[in-house]
């Protein structure tokens, strides 16, 4: 897997409606960035490892997102599947600086 460069700007926060997510492509990777209702951001891989579902289209709360295709549920901080399925997504730490979303760190 390619590494996503730390510090790179992946998009603008005003592209994401509150409570929803949008997918951004960066360095050939796709990252779904969620803008929670409390204003904070979460970022994970955009593609569900189960059958390729678009996670940015999933329903989310402040902890998890539910894949719209088959209901697999991922913790947006750890990337693990909360129903106990043996799959996970990568999660990324992100920050906002003057409206720009930047990756600050990523799990392996």
């Amino acid at each position: 897997m390619t590494e996503v460069e730390v510090g790179i700007e992946i998009g603008r926060v005003d592209e994401i409606p509150v409570g929803e997510a949008r997918t951004f492509a960066v360095n050939g990777e796709q990252i779904a960035v969620f803008r929670l209702r409390d204003g904070s951001l979460r970022a994970i891989d955009a593609v569900c490892p189960h059958k390729g579902g678009p996670l940015a289209d999933g329903l989310a709360d402040d902890r998890v997102v539910v894949c719209p295709l088959h209901g697999h549920t991922f913790d947006m901080c750890t990337g693990s599947e909360t129903g106990g399925a043996d799959m996970s997504v990568r999660s990324y730490a992100v920050s906002v600086d003057d409206g720009a979303i930047r990756i600050t760190d990523h799990t392996k």
Binding site: P17, T23, Q30, G52, L59, A60, G83
Partner: protein, 825 residues
């Protein structure tokens, strides 16, 4: 150092054996070479009948006929010698010689040479030693099949010799290609290997009914040609039949010549031990139709899978004790349009064997069951195979049988429950959607999860269509041995808010909560939002507040955010409204133009009498809607979907009421209403019920003299249920009023995702009749008023296309990666 493994035979058995070997790390242990005398990769011989019948294309992009393409061999480092025939095996020097002059050494050899067509001795059958006479075909290989298809165009009358499964399939296939077809069978009974005389006679009648003539007890002695072209065949009794095409499907014979010449023991086929090795040579394994195990030779595919597993365990040293003990064979197939299932014995053999028989020749239904010592040892089903799953399971695993033997043949009550969860075998599949077996559920309970909802969440059982939920619940209860944790959340309307539906609605009303976020803030523990509660809450609030509902799109499921149904590849389906299933040339032209302009990969008629455009990209949705210029058909939501109608009185000779007009009126009035689950309706113009109104959430049937019956709680999806008669009324206006009142009562009282087929029996039809028809509880006025409020708030959601309501509403969520593609037909 890797060993050389040679596989002779590139058919389903040989390749399955290789796949099993590879799965056990075989690529590290072996260099694999495969010889196959057909010039193809591995293909599915079972589908040849479909190829002949034209229902399976060989060339199509999605063709299922090829199981392993040539690239599969390359990817797995397998040396495929396609079109090369092995002519000799030297088992002492461990070398195989092929007809291309090559000699290849092996350490291990797998023989999977399969079978060939059996050609009975008939004068004039062969043009020379290797070539069949003009117009004569075997039916075994892809080449046979292709040759028949290409010849069928200029032949008109075919005879199939052999009234077994393959012969009947060949006959049906040729008939569908426009030929007149006769079947000639040497025995008195069709499919006599599987069926007894009565069943065979019923099958014969069904075959004759579709226009295939059947001649039994006829032995063909001669094939006659005129000027080199096939003209007729002659029987031993002197009679004859004219024909210009002849298919020989008189059985198969294992290909054993190679093994015989190598000095291996061959009886009916190559004799093997329990490890699937030749009894003469530990380095030679045999699998499939050319193997004889404990006196049995199998011609079906299921035993072959089992043999391949044992072989692979043994040859790779994964499990040297792996042993094959023979297979119980059960077949289920469609012969010439008739469903047939057969397993085990066809008739009793011992004096104490129980034999249960049911025969209804007029309708082509016949069933027999043979029971010994309380265990099912044989069954035959013709015409109605609805009980085949249970019977197969009972046959395979020796389940105890119900005392009422008749329930083995017919569904009496609910069969799944009657079986008793204790008796289900561990590998019995409970949830077909997500492939969850009873064993998995039990393991989950044993691992400490004792609530039904917990087990469902962990295993995903019941999370597909939901039709197995009841059974899942029973299994969990049984596995927990009465220690089921009462899940307090079971009565909550949504998992994240601790109230049942009446309390939740009362609080929402009292606190005037108009948005999903306000409900979480006010009513959820610690104000925590919950992703899995959002969709249900949004629906509930829309139902309660109508135009006062504050629609936060992040609380909506993706289908409701973009007003289209998400598909497995992330594209969407678009179904424009077509009220009552009535359309016109303007709409059709629009749809056709849109389909061309946006290169729609599939246009499909739906079950609800509309047209579905599948494979639309999310970003194209607004433009597609604009070009269609038709309102949404709501084929994506938990909402009022559609009203199916028949042609009613306008054209139908039998119509008793104008069902089309009434259906359109219902759809116009109640279109798009949010509800706890889908609402599908139908109106039909006479009791012939062409619009299938008896199995709809609400169905209306014209019964003459201007009267209409209203049925509620019907279903014909994951569950089948005939609706209950709610009322019989005198005019269409009353139908419309009562429909609205029923739908509103359902919307306000049903649990989330509870379809009417569950809601109606839960509440009871008498209670519903009281509320909706007789107004015994005085609720009617309020229900009607609240329904009217929802109707007044209707807005076509496809107007979002003109002005997106959120930033990037239609922006693709997966822009880059090639996803698993849905095959385009």
């Amino acid at each position: 150092m890797r060993q050389k493994l040679i596989v002779v035979g590139n058919g389903m058995a040989g390749v399955r054996a290789i796949e099993e070997v590879l799965m056990r790390g075989g690529a590290e242990k072996f260099d694999i070479t495969v010889f196959g005398d057909e010039p193809y990769g591995n293909y599915n011989r079972i589908l040849l009948s479909n190829v002949l019948a034209g229902s399976q294309e060989i060339e199509a992009a999605d063709s299922e006929i090829f199981l392993n393409g040539l690239d599969w061999y390359a990817e797995n480092g397998i040396d495929l010698r396609a079109g090369v025939r092995v002519v000799r095996i030297d088992s002492f020097a461990r070398v195989v010689y092929a007809d291309d002059g090559s000699a290849t050494r092996y350490e291990k050899l797998i023989l999977a040479t399969g079978s060939r067509s059996f050609f009975p001795p008939i004068a004039g059958l062969w043009a020379d030693d290797k070539t069949l006479t003009d117009g004569v075909f075997g039916f075994r290989t892809l080449d046979d099949c292709v040759a028949m298809i290409s010849q069928s165009a200029d032949r008109s009358k075919a005879v199939v010799i052999g009234g077994g499964l393959l012969g009947l399939e060949a006959a049906r296939g040729l008939q569908s290609r426009g030929l007149a077809v006769d079947v000639v069978h040497a025995a008195p009974t069709l499919m006599n290997a599987q069926l007894d005389d009565t069943a065979g006679a019923i099958l014969r009648r069904s075959v004759e009914d579709i226009g295939i003539a059947v001649h039994v007890e006829k032995v063909t002695t001669e094939v006659v040609t005129e000027n080199g072209r096939l003209s007729s065949i002659v029987f031993s009794d002197g009679t004859s039949i004219d024909c210009d095409m002849l298919v020989i499907a008189a059985g198969i014979r294992p290909n054993v010549g190679l093994a015989q010449r190598a000095g291996l023991t061959v009886e009916r086929a190559i004799v093997v031990d329990d490890h699937m090795r030749s009894i003469d040579d530990d380095n030679i394994y045999v699998v499939g139709e050319c193997a004889q195990h404990r006196g049995q030779v199998y011609g079906l595919v299921a035993p072959l899978w089992e043999q391949a597993t044992v072989l692979a365990d043994h040859i790779t040293n994964t499990d040297r004790t792996a042993a094959y003990h023979g297979s119980r064979t059960a077949t289920k197939l469609k012969v010439a349009g008739v469903d047939v299932a057969a397993m085990g014995l066809k008739a009793p053999e011992l004096p104490d064997d129980e034999f249960v028989q049911y025969s209804e020749p007029r309708h082509g239904v016949y069933k027999t069951i043979v029971i010994r010592d309380g265990k099912l040892i044989g069954a035959t089903l013709v015409g109605d195979v609805s009980k085949v799953s249970f019977l197969t399971q009972a046959f395979d695993s020796g389940l105890p049988l119900p005392d009422e033997r008749v329930s083995l043949m017919f569904d009496i009550g609910t069969p799944d429950v009657a079986v008793g969860v204790a008796e289900l075998s561990d590998d019995a599949q409970v949830c077909n959607c997500n492939g969850v077996s009873k064993g998995t559920l039990v393991a989950c309970v044993q691992a400490g999860e004792t609530s039904v909802t917990g087990v469902m969440a962990k295993t995903k059982a019941g999370k597909g269509c939901g039709s197995c939920k009841e059974l899942v619940g029973q299994i969990v209860e049984w596995a927990a041995g009465g220690a089921v944790t009462e899940d307090p959340s079971a009565s909550w309307y949504v998992p994240g808010i601790p109230y049942d539906k009446p309390t939740l609605m009362q609080l929402i009303r009292e606190l005037k909560l108009h948005s999903v976020s306000s409900v979480f803030a006010a009513l959820a523990p610690d104000g925590k939002e919950d992703a899995n509660s959002k969709m249900a809450l949004a629906s509930l609030l829309e139902m309660m507040w109508a135009d006062e509902f504050v629609d936060e799109r992040d609380a909506r499921f993706i289908n409701d955010r973009v007003h289209a149904n998400i598909q497995r590849d992330g594209t969407f389906s678009v179904v424009p409204q077509m009220k009552g299933g009535v359309t016109n040339s303007w709409q059709l032209r629009r749809i056709a133009e849109v389909a061309d302009k946006y290169a729609i990969p599939m246009i499909k008629l739906t079950g609800g009498q509309r047209i579905d455009l599948l494979g639309v990209r999310k970003e194209d949705l607004p433009a597609v809607w604009a070009d269609l210029d038709m309102p949404s058909g709501y084929a994506y939501g938990k909402s009022f979907r559609t009203v199916k109608t028949c042609v009613g009185t306008d054209f139908c000779r039998y119509g008793l009421g104008d069902s089309t007009a009434l259906g359109i009126a219902l759809e116009e009035r109640y279109q798009g209403l949010a509800s706890p689950a889908k609402m599908k309706l139908a109106v039909t113009g006479c009791p012939r019920n062409c619009a299938e109104a008896l199995c709809k959430d609400l169905g209306v049937v014209a019964v003459g003299d201007g009267r209409w019956e209203i049925y509620v709680g019907g279903a014909a999806g994951a569950h089948i249920r005939k609706g209950d008669l709610l009322a019989t009324v005198d005019d269409p206006e009353t139908v419309i009023t009562l429909t609205g009142r029923f739908l509103q009562y359902y919307r306000e009282n049903a649990n989330w995702l509870e379809r009417t087929y569950a809601f109606v029996p839960r509440v009871g039809i008498e209670k519903l009749r009281g509320v909706v028809v007789d107004d015994t509880d005085g609720l009617a006025e309020g229900l009607d008023a609240r329904m009217q409020k929802s109707i007044d708030a209707y807005r076509d959601p496809w107007q979002d296309g003109r002005e997106p309501v959120t930033e990037g509403q239609f922006r693709p969520s997966l822009p880059l990666l090639p996803l698993p593609q849905v095959p385009v037909r």
